[in-house]
Symmetry: D2
């Protein structure tokens, strides 16, 4: 393999730049020429492809987002779009891809592999930690620290006023961010998609706390479980709590990468290139324990990343 393409796709996540940097430098070390594909499959179709030199990725490891940008592409879902994309790869002589993104992005890579024989290795980039086959996806650690810092600050004002706050965090259909943030901030309750919400129980708990002169309450809601506004209303109906609502929003996605995400991105980026070198394709780099393993796309798509029950229980035990 002489030329490889590197791209980020879907939602951006912190650490992607570390993965890009590592893939570029590993490729150069192996004597390959790395190319950047701008804006994911959209750029692949439009031919936004350019060589990446060693110095092009200097000093990017500390930056949030992705220097290769990202976009969603409807055209790539069509046969015609895919053919355009493949034609562009051929034009540049690109034989293999490093695809950094969520499951939608890896699905695209799977299609290119199966239908057109384009080799690829995926890197799980997603703050939601909803991808099967890796203990943790690129960006989760940074997102959780951003969420934690935000909730610590809200906690300051909540404590000063003795108020109830309902805070909505990201995570799509997955409660990972909510639960982990809940443990880390000492939240009083968490509502997640994986568990039927017990509003009455939460209201009861808050009343007990109030009887104990603890009028500050923090309830974290995972977006996949519903809206913080709705739960805030229901909570008020269930009791007398005048809850304030905060939707943390896009700050969760845009954090400056932590040590963990910089190292994870570096390891996965280098491993992906090494995998391509060794003829691997249609696999994703997964962090399993302390090791980077290759997980077949098949397996990635066949299962869901489950939330550990012990972790859910831990939050309740410590609150």
């Amino acid at each position: 393999m002489k030329k490889i393409g590197i791209m980020t796709s879907g939602g951006d996540s912190p650490g992607m730049n570390g993965a890009i940097r590592a893939a570029v430098r590993a490729a150069i070390n192996y004597g390959m020429t790395p190319y950047g594909i701008l804006s994911g499959y959209k750029g692949m179709i439009e031919g936004s492809i350019f060589e990446l030199k060693h110095s092009d990725v200097s000093n990017i490891i500390s930056r949030g987002g992705t220097i290769l940008q990202t976009a969603r592409s409807l055209e790539f879902k069509t046969e015609e779009g895919q053919k355009k994309a493949v034609a562009n790869l051929e034009k540049y002589g690109i034989e293999g891809l490093v695809v950094i993104g969520g499951d939608g992005s890896l699905s695209g890579a799977k299609v290119l592999d199966e239908k057109f024989g384009i080799k690829s290795i995926g890197i799980p980039g997603s703050i939601d930690n909803d991808i099967y086959g890796t203990d943790v996806s690129l960006g989760v650690d940074t997102a959780l620290n951003v969420i934690m810092d935000s909730i610590d600050m809200i906690n300051n004002t909540a404590s000063s006023h003795g108020r109830t706050f309902v805070i909505e965090v990201m995570g799509r259909h997955c409660g990972y961010l909510a639960v982990m943030a809940g443990i880390a901030t000492g939240a009083d309750a968490v509502i997640i998609p994986e568990v039927e919400p017990d509003l009455a129980g939460i209201a009861e708990k808050f009343k007990k706390r109030a009887a104990d002169c603890k009028t500050r309450n923090i309830l974290i809601v995972a977006e996949g479980a519903g809206s913080a506004y709705d739960f805030g209303k229901k909570l008020q109906e269930a009791g007398t709590f005048d809850a304030r609502i905060t939707v943390l929003g896009h700050v969760q996605r845009g954090g400056f990468p932590t040590y963990f995400d910089r190292v994870l991105g570096s390891r996965m980026g280098a491993a992906a290139v090494e995998g391509l070198m060794n003829g691997k394709t249609a696999v994703m780099t997964g962090l399993q324990g302390n090791q980077i393993k290759f997980v077949p796309y098949e397996e990635v798509f066949s299962k869901r990343h489950e939330l550990n029950n012990n972790i859910i229980k831990l939050l309740d035990d410590l609150a």
Copy 2:
């Protein structure tokens, strides 16, 4: 004066703990006994009053919010409520007050001074910077750094996607936070209550940027000028921008105090006690240049804190 009461009232703001600490220790240095009044005028009415020792305020200078807590009190707006409050002050022998809070809080202190002869010195605590008589209120610096950090993060994801973001910041009827954050983050446009919004002009500007391949746009909206959701909608009607909305919310209020707010709180807290010692009353500590001055309540309420026109112009010039 032998005994003074210290309280925080209205919305909490970072730096209040530094002011409390300084007031307590300055009072002790002058041989006075400082008392904490919990939850502002509510606690004054309810008699939640207790002595504060030197060590009670150890290590609080770095904490957000206010250890004395704060609340709004409807009862204090009544003659009856005020009499209860005054009775409690008399019960504890409290002859003077340090009142830390916004203009509502200082209004209460003015009433106590005029109707009941309770001496007081106010400290302007408000992240909105809307109080006349001080260049900057306690908490503004911290709030602006929190807002800036948040917008930097949103900028990371906005740049990765080439997207338009509309970000709503606090400030009540005042555009100070929005304008300053706009300059500090290199925002593309700002909408504030002080200036008639020009949506068409902003849409035009964003179109020009898009023609220049700059599809990332950051528009900051001061809450006093309207809702980010409304302006986002209008922007979409005026062009083709698919704007994302973020309402920063209560994180803006709960930040961990910066160096500036810790020092400002310390200076104002000590100055307030010194003022009481020297027989001053019905004045607010104001930062004017590098000096702490005493500004009569009369004057504080008679004018509005105006946003410097040069600053508004600067943002447009640099964007």
Copy 3:
């Protein structure tokens, strides 16, 4: 088991407070009474022991250091000291211990178990990541983020001046912090105890960079490999580099715990109490992959925590 003692010992590390909080609350949930032992074995000998209530550990999860304080105790190394300590535990009816600290601290627990039958479960608290049996010790993640932030800042000024910086980081006899920080910050070279330093090679590399107009160099030195001042001098002897030296010092130990260390502390604290409940003793909680396992003290002391060779290689490949 009705009463347990909780203590921190040796060097403090971020996340200890999360472990204390979890141990206290888990114990209360199991119907046990948790006691805090102040300043480790020193307090055990002096009888600084007191009950810890649920609310005593409120809001401590976000704080650095340890609320139970820590100290080194020479007296505990003597038979007489140990007997005093055991007598105090008996006085309070404490049947089991949660010991949070480094290998010295766990050695003490081992002695108490073997000689006096005092049951204990250890929690590895050490920023150096030098404890065998756990992928990562409590405090490592926070320390690495603090180190990374510091080096990012030094990088700003180094880049502005085109200067060489030699930065000394902690880690005792272990190069983990240095290597991981090196990858995360894109450092140009790292010197660690595990690998013979190649000053000539580093000087050569820096000269090549200079020929390439890259006059900024970052060299990270693990304290166990020698002093940054010495290596700076040697570097100057080996070439013409006017190196600036920074010894990061105790900031590395005092960080405010990250999400990871708060959750790890919570999990380990709860697991330790559960282990005591189930009759376990003389084992340490270890994070292995995503699981908390119990590792016998024997095993912990029998081996060294090795630095992964791939990780060392990765740094060189990406620099």
Copy 4:
């Protein structure tokens, strides 16, 4: 004036990039062409001069250090060096300069003005806050927040061990950073060049605290007053304190600019260009209260920036 040069010189300080960005954009707004001069007077002599476009300064406002780099130039102190520098300015048709740096940098600009008629406006960039004519120099606010965060962290570990720490901060011959950091962190004592150190008094104070069971002590030393190591030794000689020493070092200079330094840099950069436009020369932009004023170089060099006595007293009163 059609063409202006912009440069940073001497030690770098946070906010310089904001000033560069503002100067570039203000110049373009006025119809002038801005040029960057690399590495200060060194680059002026070597002819490292290039046009700066609007987009060249995009996204730099949030970055530490200076994109124009900085260096010290011995050659510029010679008549010959100055002539080379002036010849290069003439070559590019540069008629005026914006010089961002400390007093050494402004001295250079004064020479160019007086001997060669090169117009210039200075911007005080220095973390030490030792420049007369401005309440605060560019970079001071960021440096103080970095120092404060570091001392907060050291405080965590100091409190856990009940230890004495001596912490050395920057500031050259000026105690500003030490005193302000002392107030902001609640330090127990500060040693600065402006006041004769009273080691015996400090040792006495620490002994009193120890008698009060407060064994944690924080002593901040300004570098201009001597070395932290020396004071640590003297303290041990004066009592029994086993003091730990930390020299904060270059992190203090390399911080990511705060809101305040970004706005101050923006204001000063724009004002400097406006001044040149209006025919001003040999003046420095100074922040006086809320206003940017022009202060003649003469005046800047004629006096010293004095530390406010009330501030020194405040620290002692509150400790």
